[in-house]
């Protein structure tokens, strides 16, 4: 168990839909601003970049689904797909989205208490200059059903990749850290 306490993150409960957004908008923005400042400072020598990904998992009471939002650095996703397919991949192209989906579903999953994987539906992606945001959801499933998280996204590609997962269950946010040697964690 490797739960990193997150001081001051127990924000007052708001509408779940908004919470996801505010988490993406505030926390990753800051996080990515810092990370990208790092990465861009040595942009030509990409091998020396800092590699990180962030995932938010929380329940949306309106839809009754658990929403999973991955925020990855665009540069890293681009490098990954280039090294898989030998060419730079245009992520607005549905073909390219399909290959990113295939990869992500291979590297990330949630397990229920029975040890079986929770079915995660692919909702879509959003791409900008700095980041690639992937939306998944587990329909009609509460986030409390998550018993274990497997997150090896980019970790098989970038040896120094560090993934952070924020899991919110009943308003309590807990943060988990993952890397290549530590791809799976139980939330209990």
């Amino acid at each position: 168990m490797n739960v990193v306490p997150s001081p001051g993150r127990n924000a007052p409960r708001r509408r779940p839909g908004r919470r996801i957004i505010s988490t993406i908008m505030k926390f990753p923005r800051l996080f990515f601003a810092a990370a990208l400042a790092y990465a861009c400072a040595c942009a030509p020598a990409s091998a020396h970049s800092f590699h990180a990904g962030l995932t938010d998992i929380s329940f949306n009471a309106h839809t009754g689904s658990t929403e999973v939002v991955h925020t990855l650095m665009a540069h890293d996703v681009e490098a990954l797909l280039t090294n898989l397919y030998g060419q730079s991949v245009d992520l607005t192209d549905p073909q390219a989205q399909a290959v990113l989906r295939k990869y992500l579903e291979k590297q990330f999953w949630l397990t229920g208490a029975d040890g079986k994987r929770l079915p995660l539906h692919w909702v879509g992606i959003q791409v900008d200059t700095d980041s690639v945001v992937v939306f998944q959801e587990a329909a009609q499933t509460a986030s409390s059903k998550v018993a274990a998280i497997h997150d090896a996204v980019l970790a098989d590609f970038l040896s120094d990749q560090v993934n952070t997962v924020n899991l919110t269950v009943d308003g309590n946010l807990r943060t988990f850290g993952f890397n290549a040697g530590h791809p799976e964690q139980s939330v209990h």
Binding site: A47, Y85, Q126, F135
Partner: protein
């Protein structure tokens, strides 16, 4: 971009609308979304280096696979004989013949064949499968320690993908007996590709061309690759096999076309032609970490060629004619290894330049290249492909090794340098049917290089490049004592011939969505390779100097429209010869192209490309010159369904009657009393169309 509209998606879309940039925001398009050609600012060492991706290569209208290389600005790929023969290349003031001074590589396998029966550096790209091609990287000039033999005018590296985004099956039908079908697919093995990936492709092609005596070019071609992991952290093993056979309509004398003895597309000797086979086994292993990268590759290639040509008709032999054969059988094996590591990073405070103190990053690469060729080739006198006599038969063993070291340092935001040194060692061993022409010799050469990139402004970069390069001469010339035809004493040529290159360049991306590059270069050769028409071989000539300018532009004003405009001019002269006698025959002077590419607009896409291939001097005193030729090619694609596309390609749309190549030399046709000096030309293919059905799955 939302795929499945759900409450979440709608909520997100609504909220992101004001704060998140959208897909049609110009700023964002620049990087990922629009697929603009990758910026070379901060990456390339010179203004004349670049990289072309699969998408752009796919949009090109190519008559033959070798023409993919024309994606490198200033490079012309043509044909002077039957389809199936190696192409004819022009770049930077050179007639590169079949690839001399242009080093071509496919996935770390050399394509150039040294000491080749027909022409030094023979580059037969007919085994290239465009469906697998993921990238073309080119460098012009001898400025990199990583490049060795044949790279003085430039080098082109083609990469095949390990995996395809989508599998593809295609069928094409065209005029002049054109028929092509290809299948290219990849498959992840095991659960989620844990057992590696299999890539395979197979291609069959037939083409006659517009010739009276059709080429009847038949090609069968296949690739099988097994790979594990990622391109930068993994390995692959590849097997390739190619077989082609064809009839040749070699260049024809202008006088006979003008007086109506033959037509433009007629052959003088219809028995000319050839057959080529290539099989290879190769492997690449790469490991990359944050501070080091290693790549090792090895290959084994068997090439077999039979080639029958007749360029002078009945000049040497009024009875049997002058046809000759140049068989070449060879096995080429080699390895390439390169290791790059970060030797110094930052200011020694352990934070590198991450803390923004402008620290230095210095990478060192060390590399090794070794290659051995075991060659049996010859020059035979033939009539209708039947051997009459052998002029020479040789067994050549040519072995080379090279070590190089390169330091790439980024001093600060604005300044980068790349300094390299390369040591080359060649051994030539020739056993010949003529005892006087057998022997062994060796040659070594050190080639230094220096590249400086200076970026005083954010969107502009200046370059200075200096480097020495070389080409190897035909091993047979390095040990020969007599001319095999006349048995007169002949001098030996050096094994390696040095070139000196210098260039200043500018790369500019100041105008949004426009990439421009300008370079001014000088290239000196200690000895020019010249083509010997009646023997169909190349031999060492006088020293030369080329001064040239190249200007290339890529502009993507709209999401669906890209414009390419390139122009190059070169001034090529032999040195040490009196003025007025110093032209280099067939050296290209001007070349230019303008291309419009329309990316999918709804179901439609298309491209139109105008190529101007400037005039060339055909003799040393410039008294005979070739005409310029302008050709227009185009294609239109229509997407019938998600996975089905129809393409319509047109070549030489204005149906210009121009030459693909011109030579000036003496020949004698049957019925002529004496040899006559004349222009000999190979026509550009007349207007033709092809329809292709592409199915993705």
């Amino acid at each position: 971009m939302m795929v499945r509209p759900t409450a979440l998606a709608f909520a997100l879309a609504a909220l992101f609308m004001h704060t998140q940039a959208r897909a049609d925001d110009p700023l964002i398009q620049r990087v990922l979304v629009e697929g603009l050609r990758m910026s070379q600012l901060g990456i390339a060492d010179s203004a004349s280096a670049g990289s072309i991706g699969q998408k752009e290569l796919e949009m090109r209208t190519v008559y033959r696979p070798g023409e993919l290389l024309e994606a490198a600005p200033g490079l012309i790929v043509s044909q002077h004989s039957g389809e199936g023969k190696a192409n004819q290349f022009y770049l930077r003031g050179f007639n590169l013949d079949h690839g001399t001074d242009l080093a071509t590589w496919l996935d770390d396998m050399p394509v150039n064949q040294r000491s080749h029966a027909h022409g030094q550096g023979w580059t037969d790209l007919n085994f290239l499968i465009p469906e697998l091609t993921s990238r073309l990287d080119y460098r012009k000039g001898p400025y990199s320690a990583r490049d060795g033999d044949f790279a003085s005018a430039g080098s082109a590296s083609i990469s095949y993908a390990n995996r395809l985004l989508r599998d593809v099956a295609t069928v094409s039908v065209g005029q002049n007996g054109y028929l092509r079908t290809a299948l290219a697919a990849s498959k992840d093995l095991g659960k989620d590709g844990s057992e590696g990936t299999l890539l395979y492709a197979i291609e069959a092609l037939h083409n006659d061309g517009p010739f009276t005596h059709g080429d009847d070019y038949q090609k069968l071609n296949g690739v099988l690759r097994y790979s594990r992991g990622y391109a930068n952290n993994g390995w692959s093993v590849t097997a390739m096999a190619y077989h082609g056979r064809w009839n040749s309509t070699d260049q024809v004398p202008q006088r006979a076309v003008e007086d109506g003895r033959i037509g433009r597309f007629d052959a003088v000797d219809p028995s000319d032609g050839g057959e080529a086979r290539r099989v290879s086994l190769s492997g690449v292993w790469r490991q990359t970490s944050a501070y080091a990268a290693t790549k090792v590759s090895a290959y084994l290639i068997r090439n077999q060629l039979d080639l029958w040509s007749d360029f002078t008709y009945f000049m040497d032999d009024p009875v049997n004619g002058d046809q000759f054969a140049q068989p070449d059988r060879r096995v080429t094996g080699g390895i390439n290894a390169i290791h790059t590591f970060t030797a110094y990073h930052g200011k020694g405070d352990g934070a590198g330049d991450r803390n923004g103190d402008g620290g230095i990053i210095s990478d060192i690469s060390v590399g090794l290249q070794a290659q051995n060729d075991n060659i049996f080739n010859g020059l035979l006198k033939t009539r209708e492909r039947a051997t009459l006599a052998s002029t020479r038969l040789d067994h050549i063993v040519e072995t080379s090794g090279a070590l190089f070291i390169e330091n790439q340092t980024r001093w600060n935001e604005a300044l980068r340098t790349t300094v390299g040194l390369r040591a080359n060692d060649y051994r030539f061993r020739v056993q010949s049917s003529l005892a006087q022409n057998a022997g062994a010799t060796s040659d070594t050469l050190l080639s230094p290089s220096l590249n400086v990139a200076w970026a005083p402004f954010k969107r502009a970069e200046f370059y200075f490049n200096y480097g020495q390069g070389f080409h190897s001469n035909d091993a047979r010339g390095t040990v020969s004592n007599v001319d095999p035809k006349t048995l007169e004493a002949a001098g030996q040529t050096p094994g390696l011939v040095r070139s000196h290159g210098m260039e200043v360049g500018l790369r500019l991306e100041a105008i949004p969505k426009m990439q421009s590059a300008l370079s001014l270069y000088r290239l000196d050769f200690d000895s020019e390779l010249t083509y010997v028409g009646d023997e169909g071989t190349t031999e060492a000539g006088p020293p030369s100097r080329r001064i040239g300018i190249e200007f290339s532009n890529y502009w993507k004003p709209l999401k669906w429209l890209a414009v390419d405009f390139d122009a190059a001019y070169a001034h090529a002269r032999s040195r040490g010869l009196p003025s007025g006698q110093d032209r280099i025959p067939e050296a290209i002077e001007g070349v230019s192209q303008l291309a419009l590419t329309v990316s999918p607009v709804g179901a439609w896409e298309g491209a139109l490309r105008l190529r101007w291939f400037g005039p060339r001097p055909l003799v040393e005193d410039d008294s005979v010159r070739s005409h310029a030729s302008t050709t227009l090619n185009g294609r239109i694609g229509y997407r019938i369904g998600r996975d089905l596309r129809l393409e319509f390609e047109g070549f030489n749309l204005t149906n210009r009657q121009v030459s693909a190549i011109d030579y000036y030399y003496a020949s004698q046709l049957r019925g002529e009393a004496a040899p006559q000096n004349d222009i000999h030309f190979h026509p550009i293919e007349s207007r033709s169309f092809r329809v292709t059905l592409v199915k993705n799955f």
